[in-house]
Amino acid sequence: MSIVLASILTGCEPAAPTLMSEVQVPRDAKTLSEAMSLVAPGGVISIAPGNYKEQLEVTKPNITIRGEDRNLTIIDGGGTRPYGIVVTADGVRVENLTITGATFYGLLITGMHDESGVKPPGTSGYTNWDPSKYPPLQRYLVDHVTAYNNGLYGIYALNSQHGVIRDSYTSGSADSGIYVGQCENCDVLITGNVAERNAVGFENANASDSVVIVGNRFSSNRIGLTLLSSYREAFTPQRGNKVVGNVISNNVEADSPSQAEGAFGIGIGISGGQSNLILRNLLTGNPKAGIVITNTEDIPSINNEFESNQFDPGVSIANLSTTRAAAKANCWSEASATIPTSFASDLIAACSGSSAAQSYAESLTGPAAPPGVSFLKVAPPKDQPQLPRAAKYDPLPNAISFPDLDSVLLPDSALLAELSGSK
């Protein structure tokens, strides 16, 4: 009896599909998830122009997910699905497509997953999260991706190492356009991106050491860029990023969702961030302050270095740290026009080795934040440039090569401006 049953079951099993080195959607597979099941590790899923109303979880290593037309290959969450693409495998490329209408993330790259699926980032706060249970995802590349009008983040790399996010565009995110979080020795390059009409342009929480943010345009948000320590994720404090040669201007955009805490008119915010280098950025048009530093609970902002950034007259750096976690040893050798005024001499003294608590202000004045706009109603972007298909997709490198930062100059306000704006 059992033998008969076994042979019947065997006979009913479909033959295992032959995995393909390239799967074209919809020619070879009607849906993205079907394409995922057909593609061989290391293969390519090439997606024709179309509006794809599904979520794609990328579970095989070294895959390339490519849209045939960046502006017409659209993964659409429809304002109901939580995410567009979630990458949980190592070595994945996502390029030349658009993701919109996800209620949480457009593109999520995360090492936070196990056999039961993707884990939500962050902790409940009632248990300590054990990072060793979730080794970080290795190697990723996000290239020429457009992510607009997503509910929390456009492009989000969490608990992942050795990645590049480049030449991409995000807008209309109710939290941040691009978010890198929760990694040590991250080895991440963020370059050539535009983030605008978001609550926050670029956000980093607890992503430390080798994070290089160079040559991006984070303008026309409510706040341009944030470096944050957060007890709600692993690996506090945030430390050791290099922010060089970016345009982080005019972050007074009304056509954007509200920032959670009502921020508006700020270029860079550092909350409990440590040993970051902020060098040769254009920080004009941020009327509350070009840079604000403060504490995260008992984590102070310390040892940050600011040099050769360009501000508007009168609104350079403000210190809002509380006395329980005073800002110390933050250095700007040519400090002026700080809030409070006496903070300038503290910044200068820190460059000569002073580690005294630095002067702080209670609050900032400036324009009131206008009402937030629904993330689904923020104006969509213009068409963005295409990335030609590569002749061959080699495995992604084990280590990121960074540009020579010494050669990166203070950018002109026109940096990437041709990609900015809306339809």
């Binding site: 962050g122 902790t123 409940s124 248990t127 007890y231 008992d298 937030g372 109603k377």
Partner: protein, 382 residues
């Protein structure tokens, strides 16, 4: 949703600057970590006897739901022989809470669920064999504390007498105090709690309070009990007495009141959705980016995820007396005083509920490890 923005949105306060961390509980995969109130456990039975003996004193984790009434007292003492008075006090507590009838002059109808819990403040600890423990009780002056009379800051001995029957509290306390060397009562307060609804009571402003607490043995070991050394089995108690301006609070409309707490009054559900006992989703937003659980709501301000600290076991009571019409006796137990300190400092920097609260007393005590007939209270310290 402009009413969700702070009234002075043009000004950026320190706490109202930016943050908006990630961490959304998406896709319904959030692991519920702690025992929640919906977990099945028995409602407190007024007739169930609580043994005074064991690794831990009674009145901290047992009964699992605090008795409905308490008398909390903070006393200063003259230095006597601690071994002598703690020994006689231990015998008295054993006698007063012995099953089935305790001391028939105090509890003629039976001991019921009477518990007596004793803690020592920094000064007696500094005279113990382990004076270093006095440092574990240091509380900074929190918002409003600098206006307090010094008589309402700290104290030598903490006594909490708890029972379903309020009549037995005062004679019990009198007998306990009688064993202290030259006692001077700093302050005492009668506290009461409402009827629990599925294990959780409402506070005096009408909102469910203490919904997520450490309850299992593991959670209590991790967060509440001191795990090693002479204080093993003990814990640290923080007590804060607050006047609550219920008159002003009631003048708010329903939606405003709910935003103060971050929960709906009727159901106790978080403003992020779900049911009362569901974990709050601190990242939930309206489509326009405003937080569903407002930035300064008490549920967000007091949430332990922001401070990187443990979880407190809260066993607070309401009180009512003149001139403060209504008030709250905040009582928390934790194995590290910094759990409380970090949370209170965060509240001081931006908690809507604190706008209605005025501190009247503040203190921290070591709740001594439990005792038995051969091992009196404080035997590891003196």
């Amino acid at each position: 949703m402009s009413d969700a923005l702070p009234p002075d949105a043009g000004r950026v306060s320190r706490r109202g600057l930016f943050a908006g961390f990630g961490a959304a509980g998406v896709m319904g995969l959030g692991a519920v970590a702690l025992a929640q109130a919906s977990r099945s456990y028995k409602e407190s039975n007024p007739l169930s006897h609580i043994s005074p003996f064991g690794l831990h004193q009674a009145g901290v984790s047992r009964p699992n739901i605090p008795q409905q009434h308490c008398l909390i007292c903070v006393v200063d003492i003259q230095s006597g022989d601690p071994t002598a008075w703690l020994g006689s006090l231990s015998q008295e507590i054993a006698s007063l809470t012995a099953a089935p009838s305790g001391n028939s002059l105090v509890t003629p109808d039976g001991v019921g669920d009477l518990t007596i819990t004793v803690g020592l403040g920094a000064r007696p600890l500094s005279h113990s064999r382990h004076p270093e423990f006095a440092n574990q009780l240091r509380l900074p002056l929190f918002k409003g504390d600098s206006d307090l009379d010094p008589g309402f800051i700290g104290g030598d001995v903490f006594i909490s007498v708890n029972a379903s029957d309020p009549i037995v509290l005062a004679p019990t306390l009198a007998r306990v105090i009688g064993h202290l060397p030259s006692p001077t009562v700093r302050w005492q307060e009668f506290g009461f709690r409402g009827q629990p609804v599925r294990g959780v009571v409402r506070n005096s402003l009408g909102y469910f309070d203490g919904i997520i607490e450490p309850r299992t043995e593991t959670e209590l070991d991790d967060n509440v009990w001191i795990g090693s050394g002479p204080l093993k089995g003990g814990t640290i108690c923080v007590i804060r007495k607050f006047a609550l301006d219920a008159v002003s609070f009631r003048k708010l409309d329903q939606a405003q009141r709910d935003k103060v707490f971050g929960r709906r009054q009727l159901t106790g559900a978080p403003l992020s959705g779900g049911n009362r006992d569901d974990e709050i989703n601190l990242d939930a937003k309206e489509p326009d980016g405003t937080l569903k659980v407002p930035e300064h709501s008490h549920a967000r301000a007091a949430h332990p995820s922001f401070t990187g600290s443990g979880v407190m076991l809260r066993r607070g009571y309401s009180f009512r007396s003149e001139p403060a019409e209504t008030g709250h006796l905040f009582v928390s137990f934790q194995n590290d005083v910094s759990t409380f300190v970090k949370t209170q400092l965060r509240l001081d920097e931006g908690d809507s509920l604190s706008e209605f609260a005025t501190p009247l007393a503040t203190a921290a005590f070591v709740v001594l490890p439990g005792f038995n007939e051969g091992r009196p209270l404080g035997s590891t310290l003196f």
